[in-house]
Structure formats: C-alpha cells, structure tokens
C-alpha cells in the first residue's frame, strides 16, 4: 500500500514538475511572440521629422545631439537602429561656447557646418525646420521640388526661322543647410521613405506648423488648409508604400508654454502690450513683440485642431499615439521626478532650461529638449508603443540621462549672458529657422 502511494506521489510530483515547465515555457513563448512582434515592427524603422527628431540643440545639429534624439534612442531600445547623415553644424553649440569648451576655431567650423559622415540612403530623414509641407517638397538639393518657372526654349519653327517658346521648367533653389547636409541627394523626406520602405514609422512633423507663432510672436504663419492637406497627403503616400506595420505620432505641446516665452504685464496696463514676450526681451515697445490674450486663444484653437488631426491620422494608420501635449502640461504643472535607483533625487525637472539645483528638460534656446529631455520624450513614446503593440521595449533610465547630461549637471544661466553681442545673432538664427 505504502509502495503504491509512493509511486502515486512520484507520479503526481512529475506531472506537477512537467506542468511548471510547461507554464514557464508558455510564458517564454508569449514573451518571445512579443519579441517577435518587436523584431518585425522594428526590422526597418524609418523616420520623417523636424528639429526634434534630428536632435537640434541650442542652436546646432551635431553628432552628439543627433545620437540623443528620440528616434535614435527608441530604435536602439527596441533592438534596432536608424541610419542618418551626421552633421557638424550649422550653427553653433551655445552651451559649449558659453562654458568655454568651444573657441573661435570650433565656432567657425560649426558655423560653416558639413557632414561628419554620410550614408547612401538614410532611414532617418528628419530635418530641422521641416513641417509636413517640407516632407513632400524639400529635398537636399531643391527647396521646393514642385516649383516651376517659365524659360525660353529655342527651336526651329521652320527651316528658315529660329525662335523660342515659353516652357515650364523646374525651379530648383538651394535649400537650407539642414536639408542639404541631412538629405544630400536622397530626395525629399517622403521620397526617402518610399525608397527605404520602413516597417515602423516615426511620423511626427507637426510642431513647425504652429511653433512659428511663439518665435515670431505672431499668428500670421498659421495655415490650417496647408497643414491638413499636407499631413493627409503624407499619410496617404505612407500607406501606399505597403511595408509599414506600425508607427507612432505625437501631439504638439502647448507652444505658448515653452521656456522661450514668459509672462509680461505692461506697466501702463495696455492689453495689447501685455501677454507673452520672448525671454531675452527687457521691454515691450510694440504690440507685435507680445502674444496678447486674443492671439494666445487663436493659437490654442489652432493647436487643438492640429492635435485632433494628428490623433485622427494615428487612429486611421493604426499607429501608437503619445499625447505630448498632456505630458508637457504635466511637466509644466508638476515637474518630472528625477530619481536614482537608490532614491537620490536632484529635484523634479521643470519645463525650462536647467538652472543651478533645478533640473530642466530644455536646451538653452528654450524651445528644444536637452539630452535628458529627449530621454523623457523617448520613454513616453516607448510606453505608447508597448501599449499599442503589446511589445516590451525597455525604458531608458531617466536618472542615467540626467546624470550624463552636461547642461543639467553644469547649468548655464542664459540670462547672465544677455549683454554679449553674440546673442542677437543667435536669436536671429533661431527665429530664421522656425518662424
């Protein structure tokens, strides 16, 4: 009897063991299916984008800032990679200049710019200053590939009469240096994607349709029909490629809440002289130098329209969506906790450039994220991708990003440099790109 019981127990134990092994293997299988989804999705990631994707950082594009831009980080975290032409400017890394890391020779070099290295066909085609219209029209060679002009074409009208007729010919004007060095001879951002045939698309290029209002303190650059027509055309052509299995879009943060702008109240109480002014301005002598209440409302309405369209496009394409507006509003309101694994915190990061003992997500232009800010952005994208596609892309350690971010670790208070004569040109350069 005892023998039988022993055998029964042994048998039960074996079955239990087998069941445990089966469960473990099943769990492994589920996770490997998820890994497979991730591998399939990120077999060939492609990027269209703007300064945020290219890694523009106060006020320059260079290897180190391109590396920390969100598409590069998210792709690496997903076990994949993107390829791109590496820039060495333009224009200049203001942090390095103000900290004494970049002298006149380094400054001259980045002012001229160029390529540190190139690829035949980039899979990351995001370019500083671009919007959805540029994605369709601007190549590395022509500002607008659809632009035409009338030129004389000479021909023999008869055997004795040589004359001309007007014909339409391409009007190829040189684009800015970001497009020249970023795209070179690979076509427009859209054409690059049509050649790359990506499996996953980073497709956000909406910010510059509205950012111009903050930098130019004006609403005259808002153009709803152009934005809607061009984002829809971009997504239509993306769908036609046929290779895209997934992607991500993000909404545009409230551009009137960026660090570039600060509140201003006219001492004489004039409503059109009060509102938001650029941070470097000490006085306001003209209503054009502020965004007043009415203008802020116009921008808010436009932004809502723009973000609704982005959300609709993400849904239609089956893409993940990060509500960057909500994320940014939260950081503006509550800050972003920065904490090491053992509990140390330098404080919550704010929606500003870092200040002494005050971490921040922006670079010195008050418009673009710093290295830490890009890690935060990347994590928000990773969360949305994981939720949408049931993948397990690991997040980046934000503490690690903060710890290695030179601007956060050794902040520069830009307001102490406002009497330097270089500043006028730095601001002019910035406005010229984004306004």
């Amino acid at each position: 009897m005892i023998e039988i019981k022993k055998i029964e127990n042994l048998y039960k134990g074996n079955v239990l063991k087998m069941f445990k092994i089966f469960l473990t293997l099943f769990a492994l299988l589920v996770s490997s299916i998820s890994a497979q989804t991730k591998a399939e999705l990120f077999a060939r990631p492609g990027v269209i984008g703007d300064s945020l994707s290219q890694g523009f950082f106060g006020v320059n594009v260079e290897k180190k800032s391109q590396e920390w831009a969100y598409p590069v980080i998210v792709s690496k975290q997903a076990g994949s990679s993107v390829s791109y032409n590496v820039l060495k400017g333009p224009y200049l890394n203001f942090e390095d200049v103000l900290k004494g890391d970049c002298g006149p020779i380094c400054m001259a070099s980045s002012l001229i710019g160029g390529n540190a290295s190139t690829v035949q066909l980039p899979t990351h085609a995001g370019i500083t200053g671009a919007d959805y219209s540029n994605v369709l029209k601007t190549s590395g060679k022509c500002e607008d590939i659809t632009a035409t002009k009338q030129v004389r074409e000479w021909y023999w009208a008869t055997w004795y009469w040589y004359t001309f007729r007007w014909v339409t010919a391409p009007d190829c004007q040189s684009p800015d240096k970001f497009h020249q060095y970023g795209l070179r001879d690979s076509g427009t951002q859209m054409e690059v994607m049509e050649k790359v045939k990506p499996t996953f698309l980073f497709g956000s290029v909406g910010a510059n349709h509205v950012l111009c209002t903050a930098l130019a303190t004006s609403t005259s650059c808002l153009d709803e029909p152009r934005f809607k027509k061009d984002i829809r055309e971009v997504m239509r052509r993306m769908t036609a490629i046929g290779s895209i299995k997934g992607g991500i879009l993000f909404t545009v943060p409230n551009v009137t809440a960026i660090a570039y702008l600060e509140s201003y109240t006219d001492p004489q109480g004039r409503a059109n002289y009060s509102g938001l002014k650029a941070f470097y301005r000490s006085t306001v002598s003209n209503p054009d130098e502020v965004l007043d209440k009415t203008e802020i409302q116009t921008i808010t309405t436009f932004l809502t329209m723009l973000n609704n369209e982005i959300k609709a496009q993400a849904a239609a394409m089956g893409f993940a969506l990060t509500d960057a507006k909500v994320m940014f509003d939260d950081i503006k309101e509550n800050g972003r906790p920065v904490r090491s694994s053992d509990g140390y915190s330098p404080g919550n990061a704010r929606a500003n450039w870092p200040l002494p003992n005050q971490p921040g997500i922006f670079g010195l232009d008050g418009v673009h994220p710093n290295m830490y800010g890009h890690a935060v952005m990347s994590n928000e994208l990773i969360k949305a991708i994981n939720a949408k596609y049931n993948t397990n892309i690991p997040q980046v350690s934000e503490y690690n990003a903060w710890f290695n971010d030179s601007l956060n670790r050794n902040p520069v208070d830009l307001k102490k440099f406002l009497t330097n004569t270089i500043l006028g040109q730095v601001i002019s350069w910035l406005i010229g790109i984004f306004a």
Partner: protein, 228 residues
C-alpha cells in the same frame, strides 16, 4: 511512461525549440547593434564619476551598476566622450585671447575677453538687443507672409508707413553688417590656424562669397536710411 506525460513532454519540447529559435534570431539583431557601439573607443568612461565641478556632489554615479554604464555607452557615446577637461578649456581661452586681440570688435567675442562693461554700457547692450530682435522678427514675419503669397502674383508695393523708425533701422543694419563681417573674420581666422577640414574649405569659399554679396547689399541699403 504515461501517454499524457509523453504528449506533455513532446509539446514542451516543441515549444522549447520554438523559443530557442526566436531567442536566437532576436539575439542576432541585438548583437549587430551592440557591435557597432562597441567598435567606438571610450576614452574617459572607465572611472567616469561625473563632472568634477558638479553642483550635485551627492549624486550617485549610475556607473556603479554595469548595466547602467552599458546603457550610457550605448545611448549617448559621443556626449560622454565629449566631456572636456581643464587643459582643453585653457587652450580655448588662449585661442579666444588671440582672436580677441586680432579682432577686438568682432561680435562673437564673449564679454569675458573684453574690458568689463559699465552699468550704462550693459543697459545699452540690452536695449540694442531689444531693438535688433524687434526689427529682425518683424522682417522674418513679413518675409514668411510674402513666401506664402499666391504664385505668379506680384507682392504689394512698400507701405507708406515704414513700421520702424530710421534710428532703429540704422541700428539694425549696423548690427547685421558687424555680424556678417564678424562671421567672415571667424572663418578667416580658422583658416589661418588650419582649423577647417578639407571638405569645409570648399563650403567656406562658397559661404564667404555669398556673405560678401550680402554685406555689399547691406552697406548699400544702410546708406539710404534717411536722417529723420
């Protein structure tokens, strides 16, 4: 052995094979990425503890943890490698002193390489910055508007109201002229010091030719600003 056990073992074996297949194909991809990163040399991360002049002395180095160190090396290799030391900064200071002595009026020279500003000079600088950026933004706004004008249609004639005072406009042109001159000086200096790469020399030639034309236009138009 019981039939059920055999079936279970068979199923588990098949799953294990599948898992091994997926894991190995996943590994290959990760390796590829890791390989490119590993090929880059890290000069100063071995005992990297952060920034020597850090204002966060208590911040624990994430590099105590090997995984975090790997993460940093993989994600931000150039940023980590480009942390500069005091010797580099001293060399940069020397460069600035030399440049400032040759081009004392160059607008790119930082205040720390010039005589200290008086309070009045500092206030004037702030006021110039206000005035310049105001006019500059106005022109960017207007050109952006003109750029989106209907194709083939001529732009409107210059409005009767200038929108800026002649003093403001003169100051604007003065700064623009100084800036373009300063940019050309910077490039010339870098060339003298053999600081440009060969590919940049060609770009610099084209840029300087374009900037000289721009300078000529600015000088010409600035002379037409009336004295009112």
């Amino acid at each position: 052995m019981d039939k059920r056990v055999v079936i279970l073992l068979g199923a588990a074996g098949a799953i294990a094979l599948l898992v091994l297949f997926f894991l190995s194909s996943g590994k290959e991809k990760t390796k590829k990425v890791a390989k490119t990163e590993e090929s880059e040399e890290f000069l100063n991360t071995k005992n990297f503890t952060g920034y020597s002049d850090s204002m966060y002395p208590d911040a624990p180095s994430p590099f105590a943890n090997a995984e975090a160190e790997e993460e940093a090396k993989s994600l931000w290799p150039t940023a980590i490698k480009s942390v500069k030391d005091d010797a580099h900064r001293e060399k940069v200071r020397e460069e600035w002193r030399d440049f400032a002595s040759k081009y004392p009026k160059n607008i790119y020279v930082l205040n720390e390489y010039r005589a200290p500003l008086t309070e009045k000079e500092a206030a004037d600088r702030r006021s110039s910055l206000d005035s310049f950026t105001s006019v500059d933004t106005y022109f960017f706004r207007e050109t952006a508007r003109l750029r989106s004008a209907e194709f083939g249609k001529d732009p409107a004639a210059a409005p009767k109201d200038a929108g800026v005072t002649s003093d403001q406009q003169r100051a604007y042109f003065d700064y623009k002229i100084k800036e373009v001159e300063s940019r050309i000086e910077l490039i010339q200096y870098a060339r003298e010091q053999k600081g440009l790469s060969s590919d940049q020399d060609g770009i610099a030639d084209k840029d300087i030719a374009q900037w000289k034309k721009e300078l000529e236009d600015l000088q010409k138009v600035s002379k037409t600003v009336p004295n009112i």
